[in-house]
Amino acid sequence: MTSATDMPQGSRSLISRSDRHAIDRALRWLRANLFSSIFSSITTLILIFLLAKMLFGLAQWGIWDAVWSVPGNNTSECRALRGIGACWAVIPEKFRFILFGSYPFDQQWRPASATLIFIVLFYLSSRRVWWRRELTYVWVSALALISVLMWGGVFGLSFVSQDRWGGLPVTLILATFGLAFGFPLGIAVALGRRSKLPAIRSLCILYVELIRGVPLISLLFMASVMFPLFMPEGFNLDKLLRAQIAFILYAGAYLAEVIRGGLQAIPVGQQEAADALGLSYWQKNRLVILPQAIRHVIPPLVNTFIAFFKDTSLVLIIGIFDLLTTAKTAIIDPAWQSFSVEVYIFVALIYFAFCFAMSRYSRQLEAQSRPG
């Protein structure tokens, strides 16, 4: 590397030398990383060829030959180009429905602000400075605020029942509430599974293994078809709430296993020290064991969050209007029927944005916690 002190100021020949340095460095990098051997060189060339071909094809379909807008609902221009160019016109036409479902159109600022509150909440919770008791209060008030915004009925907001909710807020609600309630459940079950009391331990094992042994769909079927049979006659819960309960139970089982991993990593000396201080079982866990255990497993916890966020899309199968269901419904409209690929790409980008942010965050935490 050339540092500024090596270079006498204003000398043109030396600037060109630093240029040569840069070129040299680039060439060395190329040789080391792309053309280190004959085999590597061939691989590089083949990959460049394939990549160029693919990107060119994609650009042709997605940019050059794409239709960006059509007059009204007249999709004949898109139809003519089917299979050749993308029809992005479907996105501005349908994005309000995809994002917010059939929430009253003039009231859609409410789910939009709920979504924003969610994102701010996630951001705050990811900052280490914020990992304090106050965060719990922030969560409770944010979730309350979101409920008020979505339901309304107070402060002059008109009431919107939850069968009109849809799109991104529903996905975020299912995921966030599922995790918010599943987390304490997971902690309790993880502690129960390591308890010395045989009855409690076997109940916890039964719960975790049962939930983890069956596909999520069967739990959702249970929530949508069997739940009404479980309840007293005449009592019924809303479909969304039933699915939410299934998600909480599901999240509880998976989070319990991750937290149990953290508990196992705590040396037994910590337990003994807490016992020696005369702390009760709950004090010991709350003040000594759990804070350390959970810090240990934050990266795998975030990975569980990502999996859980993606899994909320399964409500499509029981007909709840989350982001994926609204996307699939948006293209039932005969005029736009053949442009599902474009809509799926749009929705995939939204899911990707959330999951990628989380996975970057998890990797960053892992890098921080690595010794050295």
Binding site: L210, F221, M226, S359
Partner: protein, 381 residues
């Protein structure tokens, strides 16, 4: 002192009684509600319906099936459909995932970056969305007459993927059986030879036995006169004749499951290989051992120890995820149970069957992988 000890025990007992009592009370309450609701709605329970005629069409099946068959048979067809996605999916995902995982560690920057992008993109999009995406792409393919033909005898169209077939019958099956037998015999032989080598230190040659054993399936095939003629599919009218057809539903489900799971497997393989420290390589090489020997006998056993447990959970995930088939109409066990549920109204029994099947599959995979894991741990000693 005695008092506090008793106190601890009494507290534990009280806790257990309370928790078990509450659980039993909740279950009993749910149970009484359910029996009452079932009686009011005149829904029968029990598995008697399994003997009745199913009357549902199943398009894509390996077992002979007609709508006149019983629900029991329909369920079996569904289980076979689930298994054939899961088993083939696991094999393909392992191969693809291992390749991507190794590519991720390649010294070639471009290859390693591309593998990273592959992993990141596939991991961060819901599987159900990917499944719907593949299915839509499948449906958007040209019809049979304009089918895409990458190589001779393979057609890709909106009718699915058609590939060349070989005859399947008792003869082919017995050859397969002979091959499996030979493999088992080879494995047992190798173990006993290694054990004897451990005792007296004399190296024994394995390849003559291997050669003899490899002759076994060939001999069976030759003596029974089994035919292995490959039938190339060809276009006849509006459809294909000959060859094996993978339906669009099956094919999209397989692609979605394999690519999605391979991204996770790639990460597992990568971290497994990285977990073996470079010192192990260097030390073994310093002893003058060959590269292949080091890889097989020193690096791989240690890497596998790290790889096997998370791999097990990926296999379980793939199997459970195959239940998403219901979203695109591939008739796996969940889809068939769902139809049954709608036809008979027996929600509890149908869902119980789904859970039972998946618990059995999950348990079997866990048991097998635990056995394999224990086996690997032994090799390490």
């Amino acid at each position: 002192m005695r008092f506090s000890l008793r106190d601890e025990k009494v507290k534990g007992l009280i806790w257990q009684v309370v928790v078990v009592g509450v659980t039993v009370a909740i279950v009993a309450w749910l149970w009484s509600n359910t029996t009452h609701n079932l009686a009011v709605r005149r829904i029968s329970t029990g598995f008697a319906f399994l003997g009745r005629e199913a009357g549902m069409p199943i398009v894509d099946t390996w077992l002979p099936y007609s709508p006149r068959d019983t629900y029991f048979w329909a369920f079996l067809v569904g289980i076979v459909n689930t298994l054939r996605v899961a088993v083939i999916g696991i094999v393909l995902a392992t191969v693809l995932g291992t390749l991507v995982g190794i590519a991720r560690l390649s010294s070639n920057w471009l290859l390693s970056r591309l593998a990273a992008v592959y992993v990141e993109v596939l991991r961060d999009i819901p599987l159900l969305l990917q499944l719907l995406f593949w299915y839509v792409l499948m449906q958007g393919l040209p019809g049979a007459r304009a089918a895409w033909k990458p190589i001779d005898g393979v057609f890709l169209s909106n009718r699915g993927l058609v590939i060349p077939s070989i005859p399947t019958g008792a003869g082919q099956l017995s050859v397969l059986l002979a091959a499996v037998l030979a493999l088992v015999a080879f494995y047992v032989l190798r173990r006993s030879l290694t054990a004897r080598q451990m005792q007296d230190g004399r190296v024994r040659r394995l390849w003559p036995y291997a050669l003899v054993l490899a002759m076994l399936p060939v001999l069976v095939s030759w003596s029974l006169g089994v035919s292995w003629t490959v039938t190339l599919p060809e276009l006849r009218g509006f459809n294909f004749a000959g060859g094996w057809t993978l339906s669009p539903e099956y094919f999209s489900l397989l692609i979605a499951l394999v690519t999605y799971t391979s991204a996770f497997i790639a990460e597992i393989v990568r971290s497994g290989i990285q977990a073996v420290s470079k010192g192990q390589w260097d030390a073994a090489r310093a002893l003058g051992l060959s590269r292949g020997f080091v890889l097989r006998q020193i690096v791989l056993p240690q890497a596998l120890r790290v790889i096997i447990p998370p791999m097990t959970s990926q296999y379980l995930n793939l199997t459970k995820n195959s239940s998403l088939a219901v979203a695109i109409g591939y008739q796996d066990i969940v889809s068939i149970a769902n139809t049954t549920l709608n036809q008979t109204g027996q929600a509890i029994d149908a869902i119980a069957l789904i859970m039972l099947v998946f618990l059995t599959i999950s348990l079997s995979i866990s048991l097998f992988m635990n056995w394999y894991n224990a086996h690997i741990a032994l090799v390490e000693r």
